[in-house]
């Protein structure tokens, strides 16, 4: 048994002239929440549809839970759960009928079917709506139903294509609570999103741009990788003339990013450091050695948005 839930090798899909997915090498570990982050048209949905075995790749291969999807798409059906982009359930069936229908398609045995459906309704908090037509549900409830349907056959890998698109922030938070709960039940999750803040909830994130993986790593790794370290902002009084040579021998400081004037005559110096806690005393003594008074010192929060922009622009 492989430890990888998803393993693609040079996976490529072209539509005529357009290369939607471009030699993608993506590895997702079992049991993690993996976020695939990318702007619209980056190729997220196309990549996912190839992983689900509903779109044939132009070249390359996709392995899901140790099964080669191209060669054996039927074998992965039972072990993956898929929630596609947009609402895709039967509007003219009730909540319960939708769950029951898909449970039957996955051959969930009669003995456990009803209890499984109740369990799912509880999970997504739709117990009171089981007799309502899916078409009459609010947007957020529909997404919850879609999640329940994707889970009804107890898949090992859950693939969610923009599950939180178009729903309000409180519900988005609830969704991520669900996802963490599922992770605790040993389910691997592949979630695509174009909301940067959400990706902070992932164990690992891959940023995809123009069908290629621009970077992969934990959210903090990715953020650090933008500047090659953490960013510290120091506000000082006076004119800090700093030579590159002066800081070259200080281990914890990698470099000076920039120096800015503030409105009230202070200067802001931005350092890139390899370790935040070690850097504070070093920076303090650096400036006091120069006879300069430090007004404030703080870490600059680098957001996923900064990372996103850096990794997706100019490609």
């Amino acid at each position: 048994m492989t430890a990888l839930a998803v393993d693609t090798i040079e996976l490529t899909k072209t539509f005529g002239e357009l290369t939607a997915v471009n030699h993608l090498n993506l590895q997702i570990n079992k049991g993690e929440i993996f976020g695939l982050l990318g702007p619209n048209g980056a190729g997220k949905t196309t990549a996912i549809r190839m992983l689900c075995g509903i779109l044939a790749p132009t070249s390359g291969e996709a392995n899901v839970l140790g099964i080669n999807v191209n060669r054996d798409p039927e074998s992965i059906r039972q072990i993956i759960g898929y929630m596609s982009q947009g609402f895709i359930l039967y509007k003219d069936l009730t909540v319960h009928q939708n769950l029951d229908f898909f449970a039957k398609l996955y051959s969930v045995p009669k003995s456990t079917r009803d209890s499984r459906i109740i369990e799912m309704l509880d999970l997504v908090d739709l117990q009171d709506f089981s007799k309502m037509l899916a078409g009459n549900l609010s947007g957020g409830m529909r997404q919850r139903l879609a999640l329940a349907v994707a889970l009804v056959h107890e898949p090992e890998l859950l693939i969610l294509d923009e599950p939180t698109a178009g729903i309000d922030p409180p519900l988005r938070r609830t969704f991520w609570k669900f996802f963490k709960q599922l992770k605790n039940d040993d389910i691997t999750l592949l979630v695509t999103t174009h909301y940067m803040d959400e990706s902070e909830n992932c164990d690992r994130v891959g940023i995809i741009s123009h069908g290629k993986l621009a970077t992969v790593g934990s959210p903090s790794e990715i953020k650090r990788s933008i500047y090659g370290g953490s960013v510290i902002e120091v506000e000082v009084l006076g004119n800090p003339r700093i030579d590159e040579a002066e800081i070259e021998h200080i281990d914890v400081i990698s470099k000076i990013l920039k120096i800015e004037d503030t409105d009230n005559g202070f200067k802001k110096v931005y350092f890139i450091v390899s370790d935040i806690s070690l850097s504070y005393p070093v920076i303090n003594s650096f400036f006091s050695g120069k006879g300069l008074e430090i007004r404030s010192i703080r870490e600059v929060h680098v957001s996923m948005e900064d990372a996103f922009i850096k990794f997706t622009e100019g490609q």
Binding site: G53, I80, I88, L89, K91, V149
Partner: protein, 370 residues
């Protein structure tokens, strides 16, 4: 300014949508083609059987000579017995049989009146042309003989009596209009129900969810087929039930034939629905194509315009038209009391359409997903 911008935009949208274009201009084209092809003036030389029981009489040759002058009919086949000739009409080998009864010449000469008997199959649409031709021939003969035997003015004119005998008895209007009505209703429901149910899944994205489940394409298509086969069968039962109760359409003599042909036809209609479903992007297109088919289905049904008078290409369309196949088959069953098991050509043609439509749609369907 605003107005012209709106008009311009409408035209642009209209031209961009290729399928709308095809429907907008395809429909009038089919109209023109079918009417151009359906001119009945060109119909000539329909074979007629002749039985001359008045061999000894001097006038039977005049009758045959008059028949031979006809553009519409040709008297190529001669039979010795009325029974054989009548059978040829029943079998559809000839368009009618003209019997010159024994004693015809004598009757004209002695009593100035004698019958000519015409056996015909009036379930055929073209009888609307053939029957008047027969009456025209008898009245010409009456005139000719009147002049020939007008020795004195006091004598009455000669009358050649035209006796038309339908081989399958007199027709009820229900029996003659039912097949086309049922054919059109079943085709429309079969096509539209099937096509819409599939395109709805494609349009609403539920299809994408189905294909990631272990359900196979064949299971998806077969479940649709079974559902709409049952629904169409109920519709057919209601229609024929109503006609048999309300309009005393006699079905019971041929219940098996009616059922087998109708079920076959329902399968054909669903097959056409499948083809439309796999080639349409959404429900609207499927509906457009479905209703688009209605007109040619009627024109080439053989029930309104005789197929025999159409140009070759139009006849080929008719033979490919399930409505034609069903209507002619059902007419034969209801009026001529023929059995479905004696209509191999119709059955084989329907089976072919079924194989092609189902095969193509399964193949195309699998491709759109993978």
């Amino acid at each position: 300014m605003r107005f012209s911008a709106m008009v311009q935009k409408e035209f642009l949208q209209f031209i961009r949508d290729r399928r709308t274009l095809i429907i907008a201009f395809g429909l009038p084209m089919i109209f023109l083609l079918s009417f151009a092809s359906a001119s009945v003036d060109d119909i000539q030389n329909l074979p007629i059987a002749v039985v001359n029981e008045d061999m000894d009489g001097s006038l039977s040759r005049d009758v045959i000579a008059e028949l031979e002058k006809s553009q519409l009919l040709t008297t190529s086949i001669y039979y010795n017995s009325v029974h054989d000739a009548r059978q040829a009409v029943i079998n559809g080998e000839v368009w009618g049989a003209i019997i010159i009864p024994s004693g015809f010449s004598e009757g004209i000469q002695m009593s100035r009146i004698a019958p000519l008997v015409f056996y015909l199959d009036n379930s055929k649409l073209l009888m609307r042309l053939v029957q008047p031709e027969f009456y025209a021939i008898t009245s010409k003969l009456s005139q000719q003989f009147s002049i020939q035997f007008q020795t004195a003015n006091v004598l009455p004119g000669v009358h050649v009596e035209a006796v038309a005998i339908p081989v399958f008895g007199t027709l009820s209007t229900t029996a003659s209009s039912a097949p086309l009505a049922v054919a059109l209703v079943l085709q429309q429901t079969g096509i539209i129900l099937t096509a819409v149910s599939i395109t709805r899944e494609k349009e609403q994205g539920t299809f994408e969810h189905l294909v990631v489940t272990p359900v196979t394409i064949l299971e998806i298509l077969f479940s649709k087929f079974v559902t709409y086969f049952i629904l169409s069968s109920i519709i057919a039962t209601i229609m024929y039930g109503a006609m048999s109760i309300g309009y005393s359409l006699d079905l019971f003599g041929s219940l098996i034939s009616v059922s087998v042909l109708t079920m076959l036809y329902i399968v054909v209609s669903i097959g056409m629905g499948l083809i439309i479903a796999v080639t349409s992007a959404n429900q609207l297109q499927a509906l457009q194509v479905g209703s688009f088919l209605l007109l040619p289905a009627m024109i080439f049904s053989g029930m309104l315009i005789p197929i025999e008078g159409m140009k070759t290409y139009a006849r080929i369309i008719a033979y490919l038209n399930p409505v034609y196949l069903y209507s002619t088959g059902m007419t034969k069953i209801l009026q001529s009391r023929l059995s479905i098991f004696n209509m191999n050509d119709i059955v084989i043609q329907m089976l072919l359409i079924i194989v092609v439509t189902f095969g193509l749609s399964v193949k195309t369907f699998s491709k759109t997903i993978k």
